[in-house]
Amino acid sequence: MDLLEYQGKQLFARHDVPVPAGKPARDVEDAVAAADEVGYPCAIKAQVQIGGRGKLGGIKIANDRDEAQEHARAILGMDIRGLTVHELWIEGASQIASEYYASVVFDRSAKAPLVMLSTKGGMDIEQVADEDPDAIAHLHVDPLLGFQDFHGRRLAFEAGIDDDVVRPVAAMLAKLYEVFASEEATLVEVNPLIITPEREVRALDAKVTLDGNALYRHGQNALLRDLSAEDPQEVMAAERGLTYVKLDGDIGILANGAGLSMSTLDVVAEAGGTPANFLDAGGGSRADAITAAVEVILSDAKVKAVLFNIFGGITRCDEVARGLIEAFARIQPQVPFVVRLDGTNGEEGRQLLSEARLPGVHTEVTMDDAAAKVVELALGAGG
C-alpha cells in the first residue's frame, strides 16, 4: 500500500523523523485555513501516489493568503500522470542548504533490506544510478541483526556528506530503518532529505510503501488507505478478494493464479488480441468469487469479449462453473464468453456449463484455442 506524502510524514513523525509541520486539506477553503495556520511562505503540495509532480506544477510556494488560494485552486483537481488531485498538503516552506537522498528498500535478490544515501538529492535517483553510480552509497542490513550505528556512519562517510551533519544524518537513517522494520514497509524513501541553513536534518518528502499483507498488525496504518485515490474497479476487486489490474484492451480476462493469468494475457496477445485487464481469481476460487469477478470485468465498458482460463489445483472447476452460472443469472452479460476449464473437477465443471446452456458462452479445450476464439469474437464484436 503506497502512502501519500503527508501520510508518510505522519508516520515519520511517530518515529521521531523530523518533518516540516503541515496540514492536509481537501478543498480550497481548508487549504487557505491550513496555510494561515502553517504560516507564510508555505508549500502547497498535490497529494498523489506518483513521482515528478513538482515539474508538472503539483507543488507551489505561497507567500501570502491570496497565493495560497490561487495555488490550491490550481492544484486541486489537476491531472498528474492520469491521477486526479483530491488532496493537498500544506507545510511551512523550508530553507535548503543541501539536498540528499535516502531510502530503505526491500532487496529481493539479496533477501535483505538495502539502505541508500546520496548527496544527489532532489533528482531522479534512477538517473543518478545510471550516470554516476558511485554517488550513491549503499549497503545491505542483516535483517536478524538490524540497523547498527556503524551502518549509518559508513553510509554518511561514503556518501561524502558534510562532516558536521554526519551524526544527525546517520541517526536519521537509523530512524528511517526503524520505520521500515517496525511498520513493515517495503519502501521508505526521502527525496530530498534536506539540511537547513541552521544545519538541521529534515525529511522534505516521504514515499512509503507498506506491506498490505502485514496491515493486520498495524491497525493505525490500515486506516490510511485512501480508496478515492485508487482505481475504483481495482478497489471493487480487492474488496472481493481478487487481484485486478486494468489494461487498455478489449478482451476481459479471468484466470486463476498470477502466473497463469499473466500467461493468458501473453497468449491472447500472441493471438492478436489486446487484454482489457489482468484478473487473478486466486488460488481457491469459489463460486461467489467468480460471480464477483465477472461483475468487475464487465464494469469496464470497453470489454467486447471475455476469456475464462482456469486450470484447477486448489480451485475446483465445478465451483468456477457454478460461479459463472450464478453470474449469468444475476447480470445477463451482453458480450460473448470463452471458457476453458481443466484440472481439478474439470469434467464436472464442463458438464455443469454444458447443462446450463448459457447464452454466448463457448467452451474450448486448450488454452491456445481458447485465446484464438476470444480474439476472433472480440474482433467480430468490434468490427
Binding site: 526491500f106 529481493r108 535478490s109 533477501k111 535483505a112 533490506p113 534512477e126 542483516d142 535483517p143 536478524l144 522494520a181 513493515e184 517495503t186 506491506d211 499483507n213 502485514a214 493486520y216 498488525r217 487481484t243 489490474v245 489494461l247 484466470a255 486463476n256 493464479g257 498470477a258 502466473g259 497463469l260 493469468s261 499473466m262 500467461s263 494475457l265 501473453d266 497468449v267 491472447v268 496477445a269 500472441e270 487484454p275 489482468f278 487473478d280 488460488g283 481457491g284 486450470f311 484447477g312 489445483g313 486448489i314 480451485t315 481443466d342 484440472g343 481439478t344 486448450t366 488454452m367 491456445d368
Partner: protein, 291 residues
C-alpha cells in the same frame, strides 16, 4: 529417482484440521504419500481420518518420525509454523500459505539460512509432485505421469498448465517443484536446477519464470556455468505494463531489469530454449528429447 520428496517422505501437515488442510492432506495420502501426522495446537490426541494430530511439530517428529512439513495455516500463523517445524528438526518444509507478510518471510529465510538445517519450499507455492512416488501440496497429480522432465516454477497454475501440455505431448515428470512467487522464496530456481542436474532420472528441465526480481537472470548464469542438461524456459508477463503489480508480490517490473523480455534474453543468451507459450514449451521439449 526424484528430487526432494519420494517414498521415504513422512509428511506432517500444519493446519491439518482446517478445511483445506484436511482436503489436501487426504489427497496427498490418497496419492500414496506417507502422511504420518498433523499439527494443530490444542487438538493433540485427535485424528483426521486416521492421521494422528499433535500439539507441536516436536511431538510429530518424536512420535511419528515426520521428516517433511506442509504448512497450510493462515498467513499470520505461517511464519511461526515454519520456524517451529525447523526447530523440531524437520528438514524439508513446504509452505502453501499465500499472503505471508514480507518481513516475516525475511526473518524466516534468514533464520533458516543461518541454522542450515532445513530447506523451505515456498511460501505461496503449490508444493511438489514426484509422480508415482509422492505428492505434497495442491498440485493436481492426476494430470502427471512418471518421466524424465523436471519442472521448476514460480507459479502454481502455470505449472499445471505447462505440465499438462507436456503430458499431452507424452512426457512424464521426475519431479515438479513450485518454488512460489513471493518476494523471499525459501528455495530459488538455482537450488532446484542443481538438484535436477544431479538427479539421474531427469533428462530435461523446464523452468517457468515470471516478471519481477532477478531470479531468472541469476538462474541463467547458473545454467550457463553448471547445468549440462537441456533446459527450456518460459516467462510469463510479456503483456504486463511496467510498474503494475500483477497479483504475485513478486511480479513487479522495475526499471529495465525484471521484465519478461530481459529474462527471456538472459536465458537464451545462456543456451536455454525459451518458449513464448506453454504449447511452444511442449514442442521444444519434444524436439529436444527426440534428438
Amino acid at each position: 529417482m526424484s528430487i526432494l520428496i519420494d517414498a521415504e517422505t513422512r509428511l506432517c501437515t500444519s493446519g491439518i484440521t482446517g478445511r483445506e488442510g484436511t482436503f489436501h492432506s487426504l489427497r496427498n495420502r490418497d496419492y500414496g504419500t506417507q502422511v504420518v501426522a498433523g499439527v494443530t495446537p490444542g487438538k493433540g490426541g485427535q485424528d483426521v481420518e486416521g492421521i494422528p494430530v499433535f500439539n507441536t511439530f516436536h511431538d510429530a517428529v518424536e512420535k511419528e518420525g515426520a521428516n517433511t512439513a506442509m504448512v497450510f495455516v493462515p498467513p499470520r500463523f505461517a511464519a511461526d509454523s515454519i520456524l517451529e517445524a525447523e526447530d523440531a528438526g524437520i528438514e524439508l518444509i513446504i509452505c502453501i500459505t499465500e499472503g505471508i507478510p514480507a518481513h516475516d518471510e525475511l526473518r524466516v529465510y534468514n533464520t533458516l539460512k543461518k541454522n542450515g538445517r532445513a530447506r523451505l519450499i515456498g511460501p505461496n507455492c503449490p508444493g511438489i509432485l514426484s509422480p508415482g512416488k509422492a505428492s505434497v501440496g495442491i498440485i493436481p497429480a492426476m494430470f502427471f505421469g512418471e518421466g524424465n522432465v523436471g519442472v521448476v516454477s514460480r507459479s502454481g497454475t502455470l505449472t499445471y498448465q505447462i505440465g499438462y501440455v507436456l503430458a499431452q505431448s507424452g512426457f512424464g515428470n521426475s519431479s515438479i517443484v513450485g518454488i512460489g512467487g513471493d518476494p523471499v522464496p525459501g528455495t530459488d530456481f538455482i537450488d532446484v536446477l542443481a538438484m535436477f542436474q544431479e538427479d539421474p532420472e531427469t533428462e530435461l528441465i523446464v523452468m517457468c519464470g515470471e516478471i519481477g526480481g532477478d531470479a531468472e537472470e541469476r538462474a541463467a548464469e547458473f545454467i550457463s556455468a553448471s547445468v549440462t542438461k537441456p533446459v527450456i524456459g518460459y516467462i510469463a508477463g510479456f503483456t504486463a505494463p511496467p510498474g503494475k503489480t500483477m497479483g504475485h508480490a513478486g511480479a513487479i517490473v522495475s526499471g529495465s531489469s525484471g521484465g519478461a523480455q530481459a529474462k527471456a534474453d538472459a536465458l537464451q543468451a545462456c543456451g536455454v530454449t525459451v518458449g513464448k507459450t506453454p504449447t511452444q514449451v511442449a514442442e521444444a521439449a519434444a524436439s529436444l528429447l527426440r534428438v
